[in-house]
Each structure stands twice: as structure tokens, then as C-alpha cells.
Assembly symmetry: C2
Homo-oligomer: 407 residues x 2
């Protein structure tokens, strides 16, 4: 049910990052469900987490550890169990996972960040995790990115990864990342996790800036069903193992080039999530032009991208311009003049100043939305700001997966 | 696919209100699609309309006429065509409909209110409407409420109506209403229309207050898919034909009794819309208790009621408490402490202070959501305010209706 082809590019190693994956039997026997990522000493990390008030225990522990130190050495990710809605016991389990891993590598407990995705409201199977950790550590290798991409999958139908390189002052800088989502495990919700690394040398403060800005323009621009997970997390790691000099400040050309490349990797990962969205048959860009500011552009874009009526129409390859205008109209933008709005599907203008465009035929519209890739462009004619968000269609399959995934 | 039984009660006439329905052939031959409601001289009206910025031509004309006069004498409602996205021509057509009807009854054009529901972006078939008006007028009768309930249906599977009476100082006051929604006509969106009348005598200002307040607690408390129509309208008419004295002010006991009865009728009509919601197999109340204020209670309630993951779980009779907590958590309430939250499904406590309730079994939960009627109660423990909203589940059938309704 995924849209387009999966990744075919090899995921390039990032010097200073090793990854190990094992089958710990957390939920199912023989499934790769426990991943460890080790960072070389001196690495820095940036991270963003779910804004859901109901956040999972590992998210709380991650935030706590990052508040204490940026000298992170290990990430541990389990699937099959979200460790959410598990209260005090959940926090203890997340912490205990870190403690056990820290002991095996002789680092402090707060140098370990835990991540979980899977069933809500069940306690972590600590014995399985504890038994799995040595195997994951034994498997550590620099060229395991694809294994790790598979190791963090839940109901994803395919692994998600992206890799880029650029030259800076004669040195090659690599950025490689993996992500998962929007999978679902009974009785649970979608979770997005992403882990991206570079061998550039970046002070922690600047790395956090890059993480926040790149996340904002990638993972924060996608929506499958408007629901926000309790476990969402995105981590950017910088090992400093390349021979390029350290990033100095935001004006540094290396900062700009790295930011641009990280954005590119994260946007690719975000798009892969949408292409593998639950029940997705369509990959849809909703671009809003001519907004007064970014907030307004996003308000309109999300109002369309999250509208069930718009998404079901796209699922049926129905160029339903009335539903697009309806969704624009309900977005809550003040003093919106619908008689100024133009709408395009691909190259076809379907709405001209709030009405069906002259000469537009339904055949043209149907053709514009019949493929797997759909571009909706909404011109508000109020200002100069353009923003895009990406979404999938709302299909039978989405309902089936989320209503009946009880196995 | 509707939930529970349809209306069986007879809809009582309201003295001073006549209704006439005809088949004008607006979209299909032989379908009742044109309804006229005539108010006796001296009646007052209150009205609320869609907040969608992309509002249909008849909504604009209604607002204009009501700004000029409250001495409304006729309502004209067509199905099959929403007269939305039709620009200047649409406004002229809506006005022309009023002009023709006004001429036939020798009233001013601004004493007529027009309503449309159906296809977006097509011009009104003025010849069909013009030819239909005399037939609708000829059919006018006081006991035609059920005919009118059928006459305003689009893809509704059954007519919606409610009727109540109460005694005040020895006089009987009647409140009767009809509504339609959430039907769909290619290539179009849901539209809610409601027309409620009473024979009480109520000054226009007070009647508008009753309309606004009763709408707020009924039609503004339901959601099928979070999408807002361009054509939504609710009109409350008061003919003053009962022998009770006129309502004096808000402190008047008659005001209070009438408000309560109108609320009751509108809530019944609103619930009937949800029970007949597209693809609905479940009628779901989401009640939020212990909120700081009404806005907070509604924010949480709608976050749950509009969550696709919650709605698909309900469709599958899956007591998925993780999705409920997720939806509460993403509602955007500031400083929400999830460790204070309790959740009940019917009488079964499923969440106790943010975790699975002790002793709760999945069997209990499944039983609580396996019927057609589901009650979700969320206790925030932050304040004293309680609010409810009502919704339906998200089923295959919803997707089928909205993706494939192309006939």
C-alpha cells in the first residue's frame, strides 16, 4: 500500500557511530526489536520530542538526561512496547534500561538515551530487554544503518533511510539518517522516531539549533491523521570525526551547508513516512502561497491536509475543489476573502477567484489527481509567504489498519 | 447504517407556520427538493449561520435580509444544489429566488430567506425553481412538518424531527423542529440545516439569544468529521399564535422554560444527525469533567471526538484507552497533568491517574464499547466545568460514501 519505490540508495556509515540490532523477543520471537547506537566520545547531540502532554516514560528520561549532560554515548531503542501510560514503574523501567546499558560500557546512566515504540499501557519486559542488550552490543558495527532502519520498524511496510555527502574545504562530510512511522501496534498509536548522524564537529548549542530548524521544516510538516504520538522523538548526532574544522557559529558557511544537508535528509525521511503512511495510496503536497505569514500559511495547509473530506476525495482520485475551498474556509484565518483565492492541481487551475476556473473541465481535474503524486497549490493573494505540508489520502485501508489491527 | 431507531413521534403543528414541499426536478426528477415555509405576520426569527469563510450565496443573502428586517414571512429551501462557489451569479440567483417568491405572496424581497444544500460550484437551475414555487405554495399546510423533514434531506437515510410541548400559565406552548445532515452530494460536503418553530410570542432580540444559546449547546456540540459546511444554517421562528403572553425578558419564567424546551428539541435534532452520520455504526458521547472552564472542556472533548485513531478504534469496538489519552494529551491544554486523569467507558473505569486502572480487564472495556451507544467520560481533576460533545465512529462506510459517491 506504500506510494512509490522504497529506498534503494546504500546508507553511508558516519564515522564515530556504530549500530547494533538484535531480536530480544519483546513482543514477538524472531523479530528485530532492540537497537543500540553508540557514539564516539566527544560527540554532541540535538533532540526534539513530542509536544503531547501525555508523553511516554522514555521521553521523560531523555529530557532529564539531556538536561544533565550533552555527553551522550548510547541510544537504546525498542519496538513492541511504547512504555507509555505506565506511570512510576515505566520511568523506573526506562531508567533501569539505561543503567544496565551504561554498566556494560562503563559510562554514566545519564549518558544513555532510551526510546520506545509499540503497545501503550503495558510494562516493558525487562528480562527480554536485559537479555537482549549484550547481543545488540555484540552486533555493533558502523555499516549497520539499514539493519537499524529495519530494527526500529513497527507496522512500517519498509525501512526508511537517507544519506547525503558534501565537500567542505576539501573534506567530505556525511549525513545519514533513519526513521520509522506511522506504524501501529495493538492497541496503540502512530509513533515517529528519527535518528540522524553526521561526522561534522558541531558544538551542542549549534547542533540543537540545526535539529530544531530542520525538524520544523521536515517532520513538523507532515500529517497522516492529525494525531500526535506520545513517543515522537528526533535525535541529531555529530561525532566530529571528519577532518573538517568545528562549526564556529551560525554565520559559518559550514553551519549553513550542514543545516541545508540535514534538512534535506530529514525531509527525505519525513516524505518516506508519508509514502508509507497507513493505507496510503497517494503522496500529497499541499502548498499555500501568498500568505501573510508562516502561521497563516500553515493554518490553511493543515486545514486542507487534515480534512477527512479532502483526503477521502483524493483517495478516490476525485478533483473535488469544493472540499478544498471548504477546508480553506474553515481554517480560521481572519478576514479571508475567498473571492481572491486560486487553486491549482498540478498545472491545472481549478479555482479562479473563489469560483470554478473558466474552461476547467472535470476530466482535467481527474487527470491531475489520478496518479500517486498529487500537488495542491492554494494561492491566497494576501502576502508573500509560501509553506508546504505533506500528507497521504484517507483510504479504506487506513480504517482497516486502525480499526481491525487486533492480532 | 444509522444508529438506533428513527423518529416515530408525530411532529405537532405550530400555529402560524405552514409548510409546502414539491418535486422541482432540481437535480433528479421525482425527488422532493423544494420546500417553502410560511410564517404568519408578526412572527419573529433568530438565526445562526456557518462560520466558514467560504460561505454560500444563500447564507450571504440571509444575513443581508436579516440585517434589514426581522419581519420574515417566507423561507425557501432547495436541495440538490448548494449555490456555493458560484460568485456573483450565485448571489443574483439566490436573490431572484426570493424576488419570485415574494411577488407571489405580495411581500418584500427581504422578507424571504433562502437556503440551499447540495452540489457545490454549479449554478442554481432557476427555471426548475421558478416552476416549482407555485406547487410548493399550493402544498402549504400546517401539518406538513414530516413532509418538510423529508423535503430537505440529501443523502440522509431518514428524516429528522423533534417536537415538545409545555404548559405555561394554563396555555400550551409547542416547539417543533426539523433538521438535515450530514448528507453528501457529489461533489460536495456535508451541510446542516435546521428549522425550528414555536407558537410562543418572543421579541426578536430575545429570540436571537435563545437561538444562539440553544445552538451552542446542541448543533455546536456535534462533529462527524470536523469539517464545516459552507451552507450550515439554523433558524428559530416564533409566531406568537399561542394565547400565552409575550416573553418580557431573560428573567421571565417563560423565557427560561422556552429556552430549555428549544434546547431539548435542538439537542434531539443534533443527536439525530450524529445517529445518521455518514457510515455511523456508533453514537458516542465524549464528556469531559473537572475542566477549569468551558473552552478547556471543549478543547479536550473535540480533540478526542475528532481523532481518527479514536474513531476507528470505536468503529471496531476496541476499548483503546491509549488513543483516548493520546488525544487528551494533544489537545493543547496548558500544564495538563496526565497523572491526574481518570477515564471511564460507561461505568467501567479504564484509566486511573494516567494509567490503566487496577483490576481493569480488556473484556470489561470491550463490553463497554460493543454496543451502538458509547459513553466516554474523561475526568481532568482541574476544575468544576463539565461539557459533552457527540460524534460517530469512523468506519469503512464513511470512506466509501465520501470517496466513491460519484453517481
Amino acid at each position: 500500500m506504500a506510494v512509490g519505490a522504497g529506498i534503494t540508495e546504500p546508507l553511508l556509515p558516519v564515522s564515530g557511530i556504530s549500530l547494533g540490532v538484535t531480536c530480544a523477543g519483546i513482543k514477538k520471537v524472531g523479530r528485530r526489536d532492540l537497537t543500540v547506537i553508540e557514539l564516539t566520545p566527544g560527540s554532541t547531540v540535538g533532540a526534539v520530542f513530542t509536544k503531547n502532554a501525555f508523553c511516554a516514560a522514555p521521553v521523560t528520561v531523555c529530557k532529564q538526561h539531556l538536561a544533565e549532560t550533552n555527553d551522550i554515548r548510547l541510544l537504546v531503542i525498542n519496538t513492541g512496547n511504547a512504555n507509555a501510560g505506565t506511570g512510576k514503574q515505566g520511568l523506573e523501567d526506562a531508567m533501569e534500561t539505561c543503567t544496565r546499558l551504561a554498566a556494560k560500557r562503563s559510562v554514566d546512566v545519564n549518558q544513555v538515551l532510551p526510546f520506545s515504540t509499540g503497545v501503550i499501557g503495558e510494562y516493558l519486559p525487562m528480562t527480554a530487554i536485559s537479555n537482549g542488550l549484550p547481543n545488540a552490543l555484540e552486533a555493533l558495527a558502523v555499516d549497520n544503518w539499514m539493519d537499524a532502519a529495519q530494527g526500529i520498524m513497527t507496522t512500517d511496510t519498509r525501512p526508511k533511510g537517507a544519506t547525503r555527502q558534501f565537500e567542505f574545504e576539501g573534506e567530505t562530510i556525511t549525513v545519514t539518517g533513519i526513521s520509522k512511522g506511522s506504524g501501529m501496534i495493538r492497541p496503540n498509536m502512530a509513533t515517529m522516531l528519527a535518528f540522524v548522524a553526521t561526522d561534522a564537529k558541531v558544538p551542542a548549542g549549534l547542533l540543537q539549533k540545526i535539529t530544531t530548524e530542520a525538524t520544523e521544516s521536515s517532520f513538523n510538516r507532515i500529517t497522516v491523521d492529525s494525531d500526535t504520538s506520545t513517543n515522537d522523538a528526533c535525535v541529531l548526532m555529530a561525532t566530529g570525526q571528519s577532518n573538517a574544522s568545528a562549526v564556529v557559529d551560525e554565520a559559518d558557511p559550514l553551519y549553513q551547508q550542514l543545516l541545508s544537508t540535514v534538512k534535506d535528509v530529514m525531509l527525505s525521511l519525513a516524505h518516506q513516512i508519508i509514502r508509507d503512511g497507513e493505507g496510503a495510496n497517494k503522496f500529497i503536497e499541499v502548498k499555500v502561497e501568498g500568505a501573510v505569514d508562516r502561521a497563516e500559511a500553515l493554518k490553511v495547509a493543515y486545514s486542507v491536509a487534515d480534512s477527512p473530506l479532502f483526503k477521502t476525495a483524493m483517495s478516490a482520485s476525485d478533483a473535488n475543489w469544493g472540499r478544498i475551498l471548504m477546508a480553506v474556509g474553515k481554517s480560521g484565518v481572519e478576514n479571508l476573502d475567498v473571492d481572491q483565492i486560486d487553486v491549482y492541481l498540478g498545472d491545472v487551475q481549478i479555482v479562479d477567484e473563489g469560483q470554478r476556473a473558466p474552461g476547467y473541465t472535470e476530466e482535467q481535474g481527474t487527470k491531475a489527481v489520478s496518479g500517486e503524486e498529487i500537488n495542491v497549490r492554494i494561492c491566497l493573494a494576501r502576502g508573500e509567504v509560501t509553506e508546504s505540508v505533506w500528507t497521504s489520502d484517507l483510504s479504506y485501508e487506513y480504517v482497516r489498519i486502525n480499526a481491525e489491527y487486533r492480532s
